[in-house]
């Protein structure tokens, strides 16, 4: 409250600019190995996916595992805009995100009446339906995939990621976000406090889908080709693992989870047969020693760097 610009936000800004500058500098000087560059973009994509899924699963407490479906819609719509209609990249990304949001809204209406496991199964089914539809649509290449020119640069991916995090964070830290959190905490009490729980569940679902679509658009315009198989339920689980690893309900946790999982997975790419085994072991150990995830529901902050970090800076969400 009160001060709008505090030490925390200045430190975060400096950190963000630093990360951007270092990577951009090494791209400029051509010292960044292509594999690292690919991993960095993937980190960005997964950060957007994980934070947006966290909004649905961790903040609002609605267990959804169909996130790859929304990502697929975003990817294919963005690809269609670019390839078939020769639209500009920004328009393509927005179109993909909006299409995914519309799908999220329409899917949310009936499925969010379900709770717990039932919702999980319904969203899982949705994700698979989306994949199968694209698989059988020859307009977008079917199983062989859909070629898209590579137009996403580090600058695009990085700033879109930052923008996504900021918007999701702003939502969570508002009264609307608190309404979502209250649904997670106690749905009956939230209802009795005058909160339209259905409305806020659908809102969280739609916003989450929007950003998943955005991530899909970035993915499609970076990887040269998109195939339906990429968006299978395994992708949904990857994203879910990142969210759980980082801590359900913690945005910075999702960022951390996305970074850790993507980097570990990339680092182990030399031993493909052991990769999944090692990540699975990592998860089991994690769930034994830190069942609430790396950060729990807390938020990580840089305020400890300053001596007199003000109280608001480190307060939890």
């Amino acid at each position: 409250m009160g001060k709008r610009i505090n030490r925390q936000s200045v430190l975060t800004l400096v950190g963000v600019l630093l990360v951007y500058a270092i990577v951009q500098g090494s791209i400029f000087m051509d010292i960044l190995p292509p594999f690292v560059a690919l991993t960095l973009i993937q980190v960005c994509i997964f950060i957007i996916l994980a934070t947006s899924l966290n909004l649905i699963n961790g903040i609002t407490g609605q267990f959804s595992i169909g996130h790859a479906g929304f990502m697929a819609i975003g990817a294919y719509v963005a690809a269609i805009v670019v390839v078939k209609f020769h639209g500009p990249l920004l328009l393509a990304l927005i179109a993909g995100a909006v299409a995914a949001a519309v799908a999220g809204f329409l899917i949310g209406l009936p499925t969010l009446r379900l709770k717990g496991d039932y919702l999980a199964i319904a969203t899982l089914g949705f994700g698979e339906i989306v994949r199968i539809v694209f698989l059988n649509t020859s307009y977008v290449g079917g199983a062989s995939g859909f070629s898209v020119p590579k137009t996403i640069t580090w600058t695009w991916a990085f700033w879109l990621t930052v923008l996504s995090i900021i918007i999701i964070r702003n939502f969570i830290k508002s009264t609307h976000g608190r309404a979502c959190i209250s649904i997670r905490e106690n749905e009956i009490a939230a209802d009795v406090m005058g909160i339209n729980t259905t409305k806020y569940k659908i809102m969280a679902f739609t916003i989450g889908a929007f950003f998943a679509g955005l991530a899909g658009g970035i993915y499609a315009n970076y990887l040269y080709i998109i195939q339906p198989l990429t968006f299978s339920f395994l992708k949904s689980f990857d994203i879910l693992v990142m969210v759980v690893l980082g801590g359900l309900g913690s945005l910075t946790g999702s960022v951390l989870g996305a970074v850790v999982m993507t980097v570990v997975s990339a680092a182990l790419s030399g031993w493909p047969e052991w990769r999944l085994v090692i990540t699975a072991v990592l998860l089991i150990v994690m769930m034994i020693f830190r069942p609430k995830g790396l950060l729990g529901t807390k938020e990580f902050s840089l305020s400890f760097l300053g001596k007199k970090g003000d109280k608001n800076a480190s307060s939890k969400d």
Partner: protein
Amino acid sequence: MPLLKIDKLSKSFGGLKAVSNLNVEINDGELIGLIGPNGAGKTTVFNLLTGVYEPTEGSVKFQSKDMRGLKPYQVTQSGMARTFQNIRLFSDLTVIENVKIAYHQRSSYSTLSAFLRLPSYYAGEEEMHRKAMELLKIFNLEDKAEEVAKNLPYGEQRRLEIARALGTEPKLLLLDEPAAGMNPQETHDLMNLIRWIRQQFNLAILLIEHDMSLVMGVCERIYVLDYGMIIAQGTPDEIKSNPKVIEAYLGEEVV
């Protein structure tokens, strides 16, 4: 015109008539008690009033408005707030967040200004913070504003639940066994608090209670419910001497 008029309200669960032919009237600013033995249907009445259950028959009129078919959040928005027999706080959130959630329905800024942090976001959040702190001050909880709700002692959790209900700015407050699990001293303090709330916030209160000293001490009128039916109503003194009430509570006299 009474604030709340319950007319021939009935609710059946299959063959069980949980509430039948209930008629209750509450006027502005009244403090009414609803008592009855275990399983008499008291909480069912609350659930019917707040839209958790749909009545089988009869009507509820609140501020002359028909409440039939309204969802719980709509009931709250129209000015009726409740607490629960088993406390239902947002237990992992802080005390002040609990209260802020109650103020949500009166929040003044849109989702868009939340996304973009427009000036109305800051104005809205500041006002909400101010109101929430004021309310906590009234309930002597302002020192614990940043405490996680589940870490509060039991009595304070009760107080917080009442404070949170008042945050929705109701005209009628429904308290479901507020003294449950309290010792006599805490119950005594609660009595004073309830009286004081009624004056301070200018509202009517309907109280479900088992603790006779509390009900007899604060309520102006009492309804007695047994097997889903009103068996007596009147002032505390009338209720105390009513043979039907004594029978319901203690059983028939064996000659």
